[in-house]
């Protein structure tokens, strides 16, 4: 282990990998349209990448720290709305037009930074009180938080913002987010979609490396110790509250970035809707992590891709003529509603066959821990 540390600075291999990723990201940005002409498939690929970020971020708190958050959609939603609003306003100040690649270097980083900070801030506010306590408080509080967030956005409308004062101003701001119909930019023509494949691939690579390094740092070691035995970890100086809250904030900020990307990704819908961040979305995120293997960075990423494609496959199956024909005689047949049942069955099968998830805590490519 120690001998490896000798070759740690910028070695040629690392430079090659880095520039390789940059080149691939750039090429994808320029030519994905030609390689994949179908925009719905492009959308799916982009969504899969965003969901990798969802899974990676949730894995920090649910996998590495061993806490159970079931409201990740709340942070994804905060990130999505933050980026949607900022991208729209920046776009407007640029004078509208088509989102250009050059402008994206201003828009995307500002959006990501704002989404991460906003979600991270809420992560701190939610995490600090609930993580000071032992037990399942986090699960309860996160679930409540995500639903409160969704319902506040969904039910806010213009007349709820009467009067003056700071509360009314907040009310006005929230009601400008479109309520139940969703937010579609400053002039309701859609959120400007600045984040092309360059940004998506780049951010997945970047945050993948961050997640990896968190896991294999001394900090990740302390988290694992804490997960296993809080009293023993505290006795050797690992402060449970500090480590748990920090990992929760990291997780929330990551979820915010994932949501932000979803809102402004190219080939996206151009709209963020409160219903995208309901309990189903949180549950999907948990399934990604558990399926891939709690605590495994690569496993979570695989889980993210898998769930994205499964959801799409079920949707396609639902739309296929066979199912549509069947629906004429059996009108109760709704595969989207059946998704929960299919997931549940997959999860039950997994619990029996591989209780630790696809990869367990291991990683796809080998590394020595610590």
């Amino acid at each position: 282990m120690t001998s490896k540390l000798g070759t740690r600075s910028l070695n040629p291999k690392r430079v090659a990998v880095l520039s390789g990723v940059l080149v691939i990201a750039l090429l994808l940005d320029l030519f994905l349209k030609d390689v994949v002409p179908d925009s719905s498939i492009r959308q799916l690929l982009m969504l899969a990448a965003c969901n990798v970020l969802v899974a990676l971020s949730l894995n920090v708190i649910n996998g590495m720290a061993g806490q159970f958050s079931i409201g990740h959609a709340g942070f994804i939603g905060i990130g999505a709305y933050t980026s949607a609003v900022i991208a729209s306003h920046l776009h407007q100040s640029f004078g509208g037009g088509e989102p250009t690649f050059a402008r994206s270097f201003i828009v995307v980083p500002s959006c990501m930074l704002a989404s991460a900070s906003m979600a991270g801030l809420f992560g701190f506010l939610v995490g600090l009180p609930s993580l000071r306590l032992r037990g399942d408080y986090l699960a309860i509080v996160t679930l409540g938080f995500a639903e409160i967030f969704r319902l506040i956005i969904a039910t806010a409308h213009a007349d709820s913002a009467s009067g003056s004062g700071p509360l009314a101003r907040i009310g006005a701001a929230i009601s400008s987010l479109g309520g139940q119909n969703g937010y579609q930019g400053t002039d309701n023509t859609g959120i400007p979609l600045y984040a092309g494949p360059f940004w998506i691939v780049g951010l997945v690579a970047l945050l993948g490396v961050v997640a990896w390094r968190i896991k294999f740092s001394g900090w990740g070691r302390a988290l694992r110790a804490l997960r296993e035995d809080e009293i023993a970890a505290a006795a050797v100086g690992v402060d449970p509250t500090r480590y748990k809250v920090t990992s929760f904030v990291i997780s929330a900020a990551g979820g915010g970035i994932a949501g932000g990307l979803m809102a402004i990704m190219r080939d996206g819908l151009g709209i963020v809707n409160p219903d995208n961040f309901n309990f189903q979305a949180s549950f999907d995120a948990i399934t990604m992590v558990i399926l891939g293997g709690s605590g495994s960075v690569t496993g979570s990423a695989i889980g993210g891709v898998f769930i994205t494609f499964t959801v799409k496959a079920i949707e396609l199956l639902q739309g296929s003529s066979v199912v549509q024909d069947l629906r004429r005689s059996f009108d109760w047949l709704d595969l989207n509603a059946l998704r929960m049942i299919i997931y549940a069955m997959v999860l039950i099968a997994l619990m029996i066959l591989r209780p630790e998830g696809l990869l367990g805590e291991r990683e796809l490519f080998g590394t020595k821990r610590s």
């Binding site: 740690r8 694992r224 296993e228 009293i231 100086g237 920090t246």
Partner: protein
């Protein structure tokens, strides 16, 4: 740094686990805390290390008032401990168990680790070397990359002491380190405890039932029974103390009844 407890009490509901216990552990001494099962010895450890909060009394270590501190802060003050029922991190390797214990001495924290700053590698290098040195001291270096569950009981106990030593403590609390050891192993433990004290210049508090170890290594002994102090003194004084004999062997009236 002296550890000073004054009139410390702790109740669990109506049960008095520790009542008005006072003692001082002098810097560099080996101090024995003994008593029959349920005497409150481990509770005293849990109070010192902040796992429980005392209901009354004061606890000071050097200049630190321990009462308001959380366990992790107490560890930072230089108090390390082992547990009666061994608490190792079984999902990590032997050396990782030691490395967890040095997080708070690192200069490089999470950001440095994520950015892979030089200071992160320097820290990891230093910590690895220190961990290996300690493992050699406890003769565990050959199993550094094994899981602690693969170790024998005695080795698990030694690993727990090694992990505690990683904190560079000024005070080491050992909770029944000789439990489950045979005569030879217990003799070895005595030598090790003395060696630790002399090498690292720390104080040791020992909760132990094994009288061979207690009488052999402790310079000062405090005897508890049902949460209250019944005797205090050198091994010779304590051994001859009538209350201690009564607590351990039962009173004569009891035997007659």
């Amino acid at each position: 740094m002296d550890l000073a407890l004054a009139h410390v009490s702790k109740n669990f509901g109506g049960l008095r686990a520790v009542g008005d216990v006072s003692f001082t552990v002098k810097t560099g001494s080996i101090f024995g805390l003994i008593g029959p099962n349920g005497a409150g010895k481990t509770t005293v450890f849990n109070l010192i290390t902040g796992v429980y909060k005392n209901d009354a009394g004061t606890m000071h270590f050097g200049g630190h008032d321990l009462r308001p501190l959380k366990p992790a802060q107490i560890a930072r003050c230089g108090i390390a401990r082992t547990f009666q029922n061994i608490r190792l991190f079984t999902q990590q390797t032997v050396i990782e168990n030691l490395l967890v214990a040095c997080e708070l001495q690192k200069r490089a924290h999470l950001t440095a680790a994520v950015l892979r700053l030089p200071v992160h590698f320097e820290d990891e290098d230093v910590m690895h070397r220190r961990a290996m040195e300690l493992l050699r001291v406890f003769d565990l270096d050959k199993v550094a990359n094994e899981s602690p569950t693969a170790l024998s009981y005695g080795n698990q106990r030694r690993l727990e002491i090694a992990r505690a030593m990683m904190l560079e403590p000024r005070l080491l609390l050992l909770d029944e380190p000789a439990a489950g050891m045979n005569y030879g192993e217990a003799e070895g433990l005595k030598t090790q405890i003395r060696w630790l004290r002399d090498t690292f210049l720390l104080s040791v508090v020992l909760v132990e039932h094994n009288m061979q170890v207690v009488m052999g290594v402790c310079e000062d002994i405090h005897v508890l029974d049902h949460g209250v102090t019944i005797a205090h003194g050198t091994p010779e004084e304590v051994r001859a103390h009538p209350k201690v004999l009564a607590a351990y062997l039962g009173e004569e009236e009891d035997e007659g009844a």
